[in-house]
Each structure stands twice: as structure tokens, then as C-alpha cells.
């Protein structure tokens, strides 16, 4: 890297010393500078062009299991030393006057871009959404509204700590998104959404074209017209490959994050080595996938990310650790410490989480279902990691009848308990599984970009919510 560090290294070292003044065990300086650009289109017009700059420093001090945190968006020495001493307050010792030095750790790179996204002209970004608007309207006369947006961030971070580590990284991230509304007979309205991107160069959109994204959003919207209400109750469901991985992320992934394990609030706590899923299920969290939305060269504590097997052939193999929870649990960090910005402390988080491919073909899996539901696209989802309850809105669903896709269904919601659903996985496809790069995961009010993925999967006995009850009342 030829750029000057975000904060002069001697100043970083003096801040670490100030943070340790009251005799803590560990201190860390996190410096961030993020530049954002966004363009939005609505009602055929590029509505606005926007940019933003956020910068600041977060100081974290650890004494035992206690954490002191302070941040400042003023980068002058006085404000930074004030923040360091505020964070230091957590420790009760005193009189420490140790000096600290930090050294750069060499890093792998999973997303080196020839040109940072912040350097790409805004006109080129505008062009993408103008093209998307045109393509979505051209797809079908029934498309009545299109909203399109493009957003990117070029984020530079510097993390240094009293163990002598210093890591710097530049993290570009972009995403295009198209939302389409179709109108059918009697004013019926259906929506479709699609998008994607990642830690990719702007030329990504030469192949992942705005036209492709727009047509997929428009297709979803039109496909839902005339959909029938789904029957409520237990059914066999087949999940489409790709974005359906959101279900795995929510229903399983969060329960394997070390903070919930340490506090005993996850139903996966204390189950290492136990069978928690069907043996067709292997779950991986991989922060090292090339150019993926959830990938990181280093996590937000300066540690390299990893390829981690969480569940192997149904057996629970490991959890995701940040350094604090790792220390308190006598484990090693898995490079899973992430934070939204300098205003937040790191938490153990997922990167790109996916279900490893199996052996069946997509067609065979659908053919294997006599009666059930094909879940082609998902809206949002939520999970209670303590009792394992999860819920997902299926935004595009079809009835499966005698091994074939039949009429579209509306208002489908899947609900279940994570490990029980995993035990009922009866077929796993061999099709490609990464999502197009559109997920943002929220935890404790912090949003971070993630990747998800799943091949085609069949789950038996899934509870489906709907408004139609089979066999009348009660």
C-alpha cells in the first residue's frame, strides 16, 4: 500500500499507551474512513445523486471481561486522547506507563480492484440505473413502476492493538437494486426485487448487467399476478438455490455465534460434536471467497478471516469467535469480529455462509415431491436464537403437484425451529449456490454486508403460514 496510514503510526502507539494508563490488559485503536456514493431512480427520473464521508476513531479497552469503548469523529489529538482516557476508565489499576509499538502484518487479498469504486465517475453509475429502468419497463407491459438504485462504499480501515498488530485494508463494496411493481387484472399489484454486486470492480456490471437484474425483478413481479392463497399447515417445501441461503443464515448461523454460546442463550450451546442436522447438511462460513459481498481480508479486529466448517455431515463442528469471546472461552478467534463502523464494538458475525452442495439435480428434487411448495424467492426473515423459532416470508412461491411446478401462491410464510428443520432436510442439490450479493445482516443494531448461499434443498414437514386452512374450522 502506498497511501499514508489513516492515522500517523506514532500517534496510534501513543493512543494505545494512553488507553492502558489504568492498567488494562488490552487496548485497540480502530480508524475508519468511508466514502459513499448513491444514485436513485424513481418514476423514470434519476431522482438524486448523493455522496457521503464518515470518518472516526474507536478506542476499545479490555480488563478481564469488562470493555470500555469510546469513539470520536474529531481526529485532532486532544479529542483522540480524551477518547482513549474515557475508554481506559473501565480498568481500576493505575500508574502504568508502558510504551507500545505496532507492526504491519502481511495480508492476503480476496478483492484487489484496479480502480476503487469511489474513483468511478458518478455518470457511469447513473447510466446503470437508467438502463435498468428501461429494461424493466420493456420486459412486460404490466410493469407499472420501477425503482432502481446503485450504491457503493470505499472504506479504509486501520486496526492496531497492544499485542503489536497493525492491519490496514481498503474494502470496496457495491450493489445495484431494482424494485418493480406489476399490475394485473382488477388492479391487482405484485412486486419483485432483485439486485447484487459485491467487493467487485465496476466492470462487474459488464456481465452482471443492469438489464439482467431489471428483467429478473420484473419477471418476479409479473409471476405473482393471479397467485392463489397457500394452504396453511405442515408441507414439504423445496428451496430454490442462491438467495434462499438467507434461511440458513437466520435459522442456524446466528445460533453459532460465540457471544450467544458463551452466554448460554443459543440452543446450539454445549452441543459441539453432537448431531444437529441431517447428514446431508454441511454448513460453511467462508470469509475468503473471491470478491464476495461478505468477504474480508481482515476482520474489524485486524485478524485474517477463515474458511470454517460449522456443521459437517450433520455434526456440529465449531462456532464463530471474535477475540474477546475467544479469550473468555479459551478458544482462538476465527476472524469473525465485525462492526458496522467506528461507532460500534466488534461482535462475532458471519461472512459468507452457505450449505455445501450435495448430489441430486435440481430437476430430480422437484420431481421427488408429490405435493408441496417451491420457494423461489424470499423476502425477509427473523430468528429467535434462544428457542430457535424462525420465520421467513416467501416472496415468490409455486405449488408443486406430482413432481411439477404448478400455479403461483401468495402470502406464504415458513416457520420452524432451526435444528428441527435441519433434521428434516431430505435432499440437497448439486447446483451452484452463491447468492448475487445483496444481503445485509443486522445484529444489536449493527448492519454488516454478508453473503448467503444454498443449493436446491428439500425440507419435509415445514410449517407453512397462510390464510387458507385445510378442512374447515378447528
Amino acid at each position: 500500500m502506498t497511501q499514508a496510514p489513516l492515522l500517523a503510526i506514532p500517534l496510534v502507539e501513543r493512543l494505545l499507551a494512553a488507553a492502558m494508563e489504568r492498567g488494562a490488559e488490552f487496548a485497540e485503536v480502530y480508524v475508519e474512513r468511508s466514502e459513499n456514493t448513491a444514485v436513485t431512480l424513481d418514476e423514470h427520473k434519476v431522482k438524486s445523486a448523493q455522496s457521503g464521508l464518515s470518518q472516526g476513531v474507536g478506542l476499545r479497552v479490555i480488563a478481564g471481561s469488562k470493555v470500555g469503548y469510546a469513539y470520536s469523529d474529531d481526529l485532532d489529538d486532544e479529542a483522540l486522547f480524551r477518547a482513549a482516557r474515557t475508554a481506559a476508565f473501565i480498568a481500576h489499576g493505575g500508574g502504568s506507563e508502558r510504551a507500545f509499538t505496532v507492526n504491519r502484518t502481511p495480508l492476503p487479498t480476496f478483492y484487489r480492484l484496479a480502480q476503487h469504486l469511489s474513483g468511478v465517475e458518478v455518470e457511469a453509475k447513473r447510466e446503470l440505473i437508467v438502463r435498468a429502468n428501461k429494461a424493466a419497463h420493456a420486459y412486460d407491459k404490466r410493469i407499472k413502476q420501477v425503482m432502481a438504485s446503485y450504491a457503493d462504499t470505499t472504506k479504509r480501515i486501520l486496526v492496531a492493538n497492544t499485542q503489536g498488530h497493525l492491519a490496514e485494508d481498503t474494502q470496496d463494496l457495491c450493489r445495484i437494486n431494482v424494485h418493480a411493481v406489476a399490475e394485473g387484472a382488477k388492479g391487482e399489484r405484485r412486486t419483485g426485487s432483485f439486485g447484487g454486486g459485491g467487493r467487485v470492480a465496476f466492470s462487474h456490471f459488464d456481465t452482471f448487467t443492469p438489464e439482467y437484474v431489471a428483467r429478473e425483478a420484473a419477471r418476479q413481479a409479473c409471476a405473482g399476478l393471479g397467485a392463489q392463497e397457500a394452504t396453511a399447515g405442515e408441507q414439504t417445501v423445496v428451496l430454490a438455490p442462491g438467495w434462499s441461503g438467507i434461511l440458513l443464515h437466520e435459522a442456524v448461523g446466528h445460533g453459532l455465534e460465540a457471544d450467544f454460546i458463551r452466554k448460554g442463550t443459543s440452543l446450539f450451546a454445549g452441543k459441539l460434536g453432537e448431531k444437529v442436522a441431517s447428514e446431508l447438511v454441511t454448513v460453511i462460513d467462508d470469509g475468503t471467497m473471491a470478491n464476495a459481498r461478505g468477504s474480508l481480508n481482515v476482520d474489524d479486529e485486524g485478524n485474517p478471516t477463515q474458511f470454517k466448517v460449522l456443521i459437517e455431515r450433520g455434526v456440529l463442528k465449531g462456532y464463530m469467535y471474535d477475540s474477546l469471546n475467544a479469550k473468555l472461552m479459551n478458544q482462538k478467534t476465527t476472524g469473525s469480529g465485525r462492526r458496522e463502523s467506528f461507532k460500534h464494538t466488534p461482535l462475532p458475525r458471519m461472512t459468507n455462509t452457505y450449505l455445501a452442495p450435495g448430489e441430486d439435480t435440481h430437476e430430480d428434487i422437484i420431481r421427488s415431491v408429490d405435493g408441496g411448495i417451491y420457494c423461489a424467492n424470499f423476502g425477509g426473515g427473523q430468528v429467535d436464537i434462544t428457542n430457535g423459532n424462525f420465520v421467513f416470508e416467501v416472496s415468490e412461491a409455486y405449488e408443486i403437484k406430482k413432481g411439477k411446478l404448478a400455479r403461483p401462491l401468495k402470502g406464504v410464510t415458513l416457520i420452524g425451529i432451526g435444528p428441527e428443520a435441519l433434521k428434516n432436510v431430505s435432499r440437497v442439490g448439486n447446483d451452484p449456490m452463491p447468492d448475487p450479493g445483496m444481503g445485509t445482516c443486522g445484529k444489536d443494531g449493527q448492519g454488516v454486508p454478508v453473503g448467503v448461499g444454498l443449493p436446491t434443498v428439500r425440507i419435509d414437514k415445514m410449517t407453512v403460514g397462510g390464510t387458507r386452512v385445510a378442512g374447515g374450522k378447528r
Partner: protein, 448 residues
Amino acid sequence: MSTNYEQLAKKLVARAKKMGAKQAEAFVQVGREATCRVRDGEIEHLTQATSKGVGLRVIVKNRLGFSFTSDFEPSSLNAFVDRAVKLAEAAAPNPLNGLPDEKDLGDFPDVGALYDPEVASLAADWKITAALEMEKAARADPRIKTVESVEAGESVGEVFLASSAGITGYSQGTSVYLYTGAVAEADGQLQNSWWYDARRFLRDLESPEHVAKEAARRAVRMLGAKKVKSQKVPVVFDPMMAASFIGGIAGAVNGDAVYKKSSFLASKLGQTIAPPTITIVDDGLMPKGLATSPFDGEGVPTRRSPIVEKGVLKTFLYDAFTARKAKTRSTGNASRGYRSLPSIGTHNLYLEAGSRTPEALIKDVAHGFYVTTMLGHGANLVTGEYSRGANGLWIENGELTRPVQEVTVAGNLLDMLSRIDGVGSDLTFRGSVGAPTIRFNELTVSGE
């Protein structure tokens, strides 16, 4: 201090005009926050911080540019303004772009005090003591296995607004909160729940003991929860779930969604959409409300807007841009932080209390479902379809009996509104949305 930021906002506006902007508006936010979390009788986490930022909106030849920054160095601020003006070139010209019209502006209402000096000068010790008290109170029930998180904190915020339309606005406020998350365990099943309270004034805040005991009570009563069979039954929402339902309805009166016919309420203005017991209000003036403010995100005076009055849909909510598009007036509902352009949002939103006690509403139900927690976003505001994961207690012969989980409650929002056959007297605010207990005469519960 205050005058500095006001001067800064005015300077940015002046610079933008000089650089060619026909209109400009600077929105400055300054704040500080402090939180304390404890675990096992000791401090787990202390945070303290100050922050600031400014968002600048410019209109250049009918084109809209926007930029924000947290870097207040005088040397970078000029470049920041120039960037916003330059960005406008990439947007399409639209004669509807612009700051609020003169007819939307006016004197700011007197909203009373929003700033509690007691909160602003709250000692760290108060938070530590309150958090420790909550942990102890939650643990008092032996079925509570772990107290996942107890937290106390406060924040102080200021807003400065200056625009080329001649608006200068300033407001400041405080807030203080308590939170407890508790996990109960029995027979290998874990159930968690949380409770919190947030107020502008310290003396209005629920006691730490009350917050903790409520979290523990809500977790413990769910132990042993099971699915039920799919069926159609009367369903009762507790005040928190009712508030979340009302929040969904408020999304459908967003003037932009209405203009685009992307709301299931778009064609219902002036029509009866609910029983006469239903009055839903968006109130920007509510004394001490967490979302009370003398002006909205673009300097339009706030007001009290009845959205639904005695069952009749009375108004949609607008910011200046959407109002101009829909040929109506702003309702003072431009909502924003410094990092974003204004968009339509609510202030203090609530369903007015009815006359019946929550107990009386449950007593009438032979078989039904009392919902206390929901999962998922649920409502599709375009179609009105509603389906959410739900946990709660089963009602048998007018009594709350066994706990229920892993089911969904589904319906259509318009149909659901018409099915409300009981409104409780227990209007409760958690944050800026409030509601009493409500009862639907019949909804679909999906389970086995």
C-alpha cells in the same frame, strides 16, 4: 457552542448559493451518548461518545444533489459543498424538486420541554446501579437461567437547520432508557424475552426493578410452548404487538406509496376502513414524546394529524416534495438524519385507548390466541397481505392458559382492520409508537 453550529449551517448554505445552487439546506446533528451494560454483578461494557454530522441538500437547475460529512475541518467543508453542487449534475431535472414552499412554512409550535437537565447530567454511577438492580431483579425468579443483557443509557441530541428559504431551526432533546433481556429454562427448552422503557425525562422512566421483572415474567410464562393446530379463532394482540400492527398501517398512509398506488389504502381516503372505535393519530406535538419536535426534517412546522378518525381514513402523510407531486400540502412528516435526504415518516404514532380493560377483552373469548411476540416483517403494504410468526398464550374459556410458539398469524390488513371488535383502555407507549390491547374477531393461525 450552539451559535457555532448555526453559523456553520448558514455558511454552508451561503457557499452552495455562491457555487450556483438555486436553493440549499444544511441539516446539522450533534449528539453524545453513554451506555452501561452489566453481567454477573460486574460492569461488562461502558461506552461514551460524541458525534456530529451535516447533510447538505442543493437544487441546481431543478436537479437534486446531496452530500453528508462528519469532517468539520474548515479546509474540507468547502470541497464538501462543491461536491454536493457538482453531484446535482448527475441527477435529472425535475421542476418538483425544491425546499418546502412558503405556504407550508410558518411559526414553529411550542412543543414544551424535550430536554431534561437531569438526563443530560446523569452520572455513570446511576447507570451502573440501575443495571445491577435490573440484573438482580431478573434473577429473582429461579427459572431465569441467564440474564442475557441488561443495559442503561442516555443520549443528548441537538439539531440545527438552515436553508435558503430563510428557515433557521434549532431543537434539543434528551432520552434515557433501561433494557433487560432474560432467558428462562425448563425441561431443556429455552425461552427468552425482553422489556425496555425509554423516556425523555428521567422521572417518567419505569423503575429498573419493573423493567427487569417484566422481562423475566414474559420469558418464564413461555416455558413449555408448543405448536397448535391450524385454525381460525379470535386473536388478541397485547399493546406491544398492537403498536407494531399500527406501525404497519402507518406505512400504508405514506403519501409517496399512495401517489404510486403502491398502498392498499391508496383509494380509501374518506372511506370507513375500520370500526368507529378506531382512531389512529400521528402527533408531532405530544408533550414529552420521543418523536416530538417543533419542525420536521426540512423545517415545516409539525402538527397533530388524525390518520383514522372513528374508523374513517382522514389523511395521508406528506413531505414537501411528495406534496408538490400530489398537488397537496406537506403534513410536516419529513423524517431524516444528517446522512440522508428527507423521506416521509411518522412522529408519535398511536391508537387511541378504548373503554374495555384487557382482561375483559380476553374474558369473552372461548378459544383464541393472545399474541405477545412476533417474528418477521410481515405486512406487504402494496397488497395488504399480512403473515407473521407469532408466540403467545392460548385462551380457553376466557383465561390465558398454555404457551404457544412456532405458529403464524395471517390475514389481509384491510380485512384485519374491519375485524377489530375490541380496543383496550391500556394505551402504552414503548418508544414513539403506542397502542392498547386489541382483539380481532377471527384470524388464521397456522401450526400443525
